[in-house]
Symmetry: C4
Subunit: 218 residues, 4 copies
């Protein structure tokens, strides 16, 4: 009556996307608040040394920035195909955003505790957050894609399957990083950084982007 169902649904997912984009943008920008200006240095200390000593804060900042950024791109990919909304999608997307907005806390934890005896706990909390978020990505996607429940009816089935296959690896990879933290916090964080860097290597991902749109080059 008010509007055709289809039109409403598209506006609906549009607003979910816009709200989610806002949350991603704020979470990624708040990360810098965890880098503290060295204050009350002892007389003999030099600022440059104090700045270099807090390298874990920069490392955690860059890694979390890259990880949230890649999650934003993945969120984007899903909502290129999801064109209808229902209550459960709202709930699942809300849980996903809960994971994203939480990231600044484990980032600050890692920045504070790398180099301390408890660094492995910090790295496990950090990677635990990513494991949960990656699982939530899969749950949201499976819910939306099951029998094309909320997808654009014109979606390319190969694009849908391609996402399903790729996203299944997310929780596994972060689980490995989580387990690695049990042995070495630094190794675990380096793996996080490598995961983020691997995204920047052209080829693999660009193919998948193409296939999302039923690219003619398949």
């Amino acid at each position: 009556m008010l509007t055709s169902k289809e039109t409403f649904a598209e506006k609906e997912t549009g607003r979910i996307e816009a709200f989610s984009d806002g949350v991603f943008a704020i979470a990624i920008t708040l990360l810098v608040l965890d880098i503290k200006v060295p204050r009350e240095l002892p007389e003999s200390a030099r600022l440059i040394d104090a700045l270099l000593a807090q390298w874990p804060a920069y490392f955690a900042f860059v890694t979390s920035f890259a990880t949230i950024g890649i999650m934003w791109i993945n969120h984007h990919r899903l909502f290129n195909l999801i064109k209808r909304s229902d209550q459960m999608l709202l709930v699942l997307n809300g849980l996903l955003l809960l994971g994203i907005t939480f990231v600044p806390f484990p980032t600050a934890l890692v920045a504070e505790y790398i180099g301390h005896p408890d660094e492995r706990v910090a790295a496990m909390v950090y990677n635990g957050t990513f494991v949960v978020t990656a699982i939530l990505f899969n749950v949201l996607w499976h819910y939306a894609a099951y029998k094309n429940r909320l997808l654009d009816p014109r979606s390319d089935p190969r694009a849908v399957q391609s996402i399903t296959r790729q996203y299944a690896f997310g929780p596994l990879i972060y689980l490995v990083a989580f387990g690695l933290a049990f042995f070495s916090a630094t190794a675990s964080l380096v793996m996080n950084m490598l995961l983020a860097l691997s995204f920047a290597i052209p080829g693999r991902m660009s193919r998948s982007v193409d296939s999302t749109h039923g690219g003619a080059n398949d």
Copy 2:
């Protein structure tokens, strides 16, 4: 002259919605700043214990996140029907956003004082904020819906009445949680969490979402 009144009004509510979405997104993302990294632990203390000891902070974070998230969805539902704006709507929406942006403060209060002798005061401030916000939702809606003042003229009267009926419960429910805090802060907060969780149970809400759009399945 400049534009037709109708067109202007739609653009107007569009910008109110976008601004409100921004405020909701920022308020929900700022909540994480209330979770503090444990610092200056005594020699014998373990990080994992310090992290577990601050469970009220995580509890408050998740509860506030869910509550603001549900309020965002409700705000959205109202503005699916509200299609004109006037000065009073701007004022009432502003008061509503004032309530939303305030939430991080009582959240931090609860995170700090649960387990302390003053925890009931903290829980009352927390639920008092939600009582006021729920009342403001009702005031805004009644103002807009009175004789269809600001609603889309094609709105389904049943959808309008359905919202009116449902929103009347909001202040009552939070008032109960507020009163409960007088006896037990924890019970009060558990009720807040259950309220948020109840939203995630399919059925009730999805019906009301359908009815908002004058769904043919009624």
Copy 3:
């Protein structure tokens, strides 16, 4: 060549508006960070007393929220008529946003110093910020409206003149509040609150909103 000049200009002011809306929404939401949770209370102190004792923080929060909110509405009114952009408009709008993003600082200053000997200085900094911002509003508007430089060519001249007349009062009113702070910080802040409240009284403002759009009811 690329697009018609007109289309580009509309997109241009659209993006300026969206960016400004983001800055307004963030500044208004950051205000809550100035309300601090009372910590390390002495054994005998009660939380409720500590919360009531920091009433200046709530007062400053509400007043600043209302003032930024009204400035957002006014910004909105201007950009309903401004339909072209140039470099000077970008610079003037940037200066205006500089004033808006600065507001959380004098708000925190007032929240901290009301009731202290230095409260008048705090109130003067607070109102000084609003004087400067109100002047910047006038400068931006005069620049855009001069010979209809950047306005919609179909703008109603009466609407333009009405804004010009009304905005001229802004700096004067805040200058009075600034001067009042020299004698009494509290009186000055009460005047800020009354100014914000006066906006909520229907009638005066709603008329001017109508006239902005060349309302037929004039």
Copy 4:
């Protein structure tokens, strides 16, 4: 299949622009958090003196605000011409945003250390951030503009070349400010401020804005 490639691409860059705008708006608004309210003043101290003593914080706030603002405008200029997206553009834009979100940290550093023996280190970190960001602007632009890879096919070649020429100066200018910091932090920061002010002088920039759109007045 899903949508024409062209339409998708435009939506794509639209969402990148909106996300980037959000990050710019948040980063520019977070700067105010680095201006601290003077607390626990000694009995004899006056607030006005304490406020004046922290002039480096205001100076850094205004300079960083202006610099991020100008970078926002430049980002905007690029995306007026960039109309297609690929994975590498996402990565390069992400690196650029990493630089922007980092700015509040060196701003706080400069605010804290101007007037201290280590002020030159602070000013070098500050300008180093701008050097890197300016280089990233060039890399992003060269990637997008190379053989019109991602540009609107109807782009005016003169507009493209004009941007290429102008942006090449950015890293050089900030490198000079960086080098100047080695001799004098204050001189370096004054140069940052002058760079920002130079943008506000009409003429040079407005010409280049016109040429971006293949202005008929060339």
